[in-house]
Amino acid sequence: MLASILVTGLVNGGVYALLALGFSLVFGVARIVNIAHGAFYMLAAYLIYVLLDVVGVGVAVAVPAAVLGTVLLGLLSYWIAIEPIREHEGAVLITTIALTLVFQEVLLGFFGGHFLANPSWVDGTFPLLGVDVTYQQLFTLVVVAVVLGGTWAVLERTRLGIAIRATANDRVTANLVGMNVRRVEMATLAVSAGLAGIAGAVVAPLRVVDPLMWQAPLVTILAVVVVGGLGSLKGSILGAFLIGYVEAATVFLVPSGSFIKGAVALTVMVTVLLVRPEGLFGVAFEEER
């Protein structure tokens, strides 16, 4: 039981961390509450399904292709729909909602509403503390660790990362010292869509793929970023594992827990907010005027 909770929470938390990190980056840099983030994750999962099961290429080709495709679609939707109306916050919000619906309906039209299952990429299990862990789960964990580490290195060590953090910190000053804020935003969006793409790609063989799969993780990552503190990367990652474990514990300990795991996770979020309105690691920044 305990081992099941540990493994499930770790895997789910890792996927949430990938998603929440991307969401948090876009919010921090561009101040966009990107509801379409879940849709990018879904798109990548469908791309994996198409590339592996329909086209029939190998995993080594399919994963980079799916991630690249997600990044391109993300940038494209930003150029077409969001960029021209950036001034209007409300319009941007519902544009991201409408984009999500468009993706959902297009996928529904092409693939139908039923669940599509992907075969595992690596077969077999190994015992750990009395539970069977599939190699697929281990693979997911490795990918999550590598990608999180890579993103961390990019953000901390490269010029792009410094530009992203500077823009998130203070847009006006970043612009004043000569950063092209628009290009930084584009780059952030690409990184964010890429992270969502990787999350979708590694989830595809673990779960079934369907056109409504964006909903459940979306609500969870919103809870994660709020718990961790909006725009805080450390907070997003820790929040992701916290929520991942809370959900796993609810599923395994409470009867019919999978129905209420979302509600429990969100209650945790509200509780955190009541104690710390800016989240665990959020900065209580002065009101932006």
Binding site: F27, R31, V33, I35, I80, A81, P84, I85, E87, H88, G90, A91, L93, I94, T95, I97, A98, L99, L101, V102, Q104, E105, V106, G109, Q215, V219, L222, A223, V225, V226, L230, S256, F259, I260, G262, A263, V264, L266, T267, M269, V270, L273, L274, P277, E278, G279, E287, R289
Partner: protein, 348 residues
């Protein structure tokens, strides 16, 4: 002579205050049109669609009262709708009270839920508030699923008594409740209170510095908005005779945001226009081949396209096209006039 004058007054008011502005003529035409519709058609499907549209109009306008006016962008507005629907249905179903008593109680229950939801929200602002409110309806759904004996679980409560049995009767009930509640919200929004809400949205610190108890007004916006959304929810439950978890869905909360922003926020009438444009269109397009199967896609594309070119919403854009504001006295005029109708200053 004197009585003649009293009798003439409404007509004078109509001529001098209503017929001078296209937007006011449009409102008058809308009210008359809604009330007169059953005289021209008895088509039950059409009446049903318009009655549902009216209910959603209350819902969207109440979202606007909270999110547009006080700037507390609520992404979980379905919470109040669902609270009204469940509140009224539970009382009606378990206690057997008349729906005429339970529906207002449902609205009051929703107002109470608004108060409870408002308490944590007073401490939050901006995107934190939006994301936290998104969670509330899902928490309520979890609670309802945890108590299946009381709430009916996933299926909800069915077989609720209707408020009125005849179709035309219910149509009028929905239409009149819609007109009255939208007008009431517009009145509050146009009053001193509404002005304070605008001030809080624009700059909360400055508003507090000017001696406004911002917490109280933000809470007021929450409770009033929740009350009207709950009223809409109760009407909806008694119309469909079922209250289920679908009233609390995230997609339904997003619907309110789409209707509101599409119509134009912080206006009250904007979201009503948004609902009356979008909902019947998506509903009536259901019969068209291809479009009917893909109406959600068409709906999303229409919203995307319209916002791409009119990001401030349809109704403010339209209003600016047909009316000009006098630069001297700030009175509104028809775009065709050369001089202001109030102060006679040139408009060009």
């Amino acid at each position: 002579m004197f009585t003649w004058r009293v009798l003439k007054r409404p007509f004078v008011l109509l001529r001098t205050e209503v017929l001078v502005l296209p937007s006011r003529v449009a409102v008058l035409a809308f009210v008359v049109g809604i009330l007169a519709l059953p005289l021209f058609t008895k088509d039950p499907y059409l009446l049903r669609v318009v009655a549902l549209t009216s209910i959603f109009a209350i819902f969207a306008a109440s979202w606007d009262f909270l999110s547009g006016y006080s700037g507390q962008v609520n992404l979980g507005h379905a919470l109040f709708f669902g609270a009204g629907a469940y509140g009224s249905s539970l009382l009606q179903h378990h206690l057997g009270w008349s729906p005429w008593i339970t529906a207002p109680i449902g609205a009051v229950v929703a107002g109470g839920v608004g108060f409870v939801a408002g308490i944590p929200c007073l401490r939050l602002r901006g995107s934190y508030l939006s994301l936290a409110t998104l969670a509330f309806p899902l928490i309520l759904v979890g609670l309802l699923f945890a108590l299946p004996d009381l709430s009916g679980g996933e299926l909800g409560i069915s077989g609720i008594e209707p408020l009125v049995r005849s179709r035309v009767g219910f149509y009028y009930l929905a239409a009149i409740v819609m007109l009255v509640s939208v007008f009431a919200m517009w009145l509050v929004g146009d009053s001193n209170t509404g002005l304070l809400l605008h001030a809080i949205r624009e700059d909360e610190v400055a508003a507090r510095a000017s001696g406004i108890d911002t917490q109280r007004y933000k809470m007021l916006a929450f409770v009033l908005s929740a009350f009207f959304a709950g009223l809409a929810g109760a009407l909806y439950a008694h119309m469909l005779r079922v209250a289920g978890p679908s009233t609390l869905e995230t997609a339904f909360s997003f619907q309110a945001v789409i209707w509101g922003v599409f119509g134009g926020v912080a206006t009250i009438y904007g979201p009503v226009i948004g609902v009356f444009l979008l909902y019947p269109a998506t509903e009536l397009l259901g019969g068209v081949p291809w479009v009917g199967e893909h109406r959600l896609l068409v709906f999303a594309l229409v919203v995307l396209l319209v916002l791409r070119f009119v990001p401030e919403g349809v109704s403010p854009w339209l209003r600016d096209k047909i009316e000009v504001v006098c630069r001297r006295c700030k009175a509104r005029n028809v775009f065709a006039r050369k001089d202001c109708r109030v102060c006679a200053a040139g408009l060009k």
